[in-house]
Symmetry: C2
Subunit: 108 residues, 2 copies
């Protein structure tokens, strides 16, 4: 099982429309990715470790995939449309990380 993390670094003065991201962009992406993407998560950055410190990332999402091949095939087909929608909610270039799921959730 593979995770694709999409992380938007905190940037002073940058724009990030969380409502658009949650209600329009993420459902669009999921619709295009199809069933090879099992589910996604979305979070909003609140703070860093020190009191009052900004978060490293203003928003993050994770896509859970049964296989890396499923991701690659879906992005080859729909990547241009998905990336084209980013300007509608942010001017921050996201950081992408591929991870292997070690513990999906500890209570299951």
């Amino acid at each position: 099982m593979i995770k694709v993390n999409v992380m938007y670094p905190y940037t002073e003065g940058a724009r990030f429309d969380l409502a658009y991201y949650r209600d329009r962009h993420m459902p669009l992406v999921k619709a295009r990715l199809g069933s090879a993407c099992t589910y996604y998560t979305v979070e909003k950055g609140l703070a860093g470790r020190a009191p009052g410190a900004p978060p490293a990332f203003v928003a993050m999402c994770v896509f859970i995939w049964s296989s890396a091949e499923g991701y690659q095939a879906a992005m080859q087909e729909h990547g241009a449309e998905i990336r084209g929608d980013i300007a509608n909610y942010t001017d921050i270039a996201p950081l992408i990380q591929f991870s292997e799921v070690v513990v999906e959730r500890s209570d299951r």
Copy 2:
């Protein structure tokens, strides 16, 4: 619902014992944190966006909390013991981020 992300930045030549982290450290932390921490996740970084690029983080974990207060109380009581165990699996200083859960998982 609050997420606490603990992210270990990729560092050339650094040490990270994933087996210890998964089998010893994380269960220890969960035992100390108690029921205010609903569950945790663990992932191992594989790659960045570019082919062959190292991941931004060699490992990440997430703790899901019903409230920020629960986290603060647990860390005040057990933080020293938890931080004291870090040297047993890594020499990387983790990045911490507090986030608000916007979508816990899209399929529920």
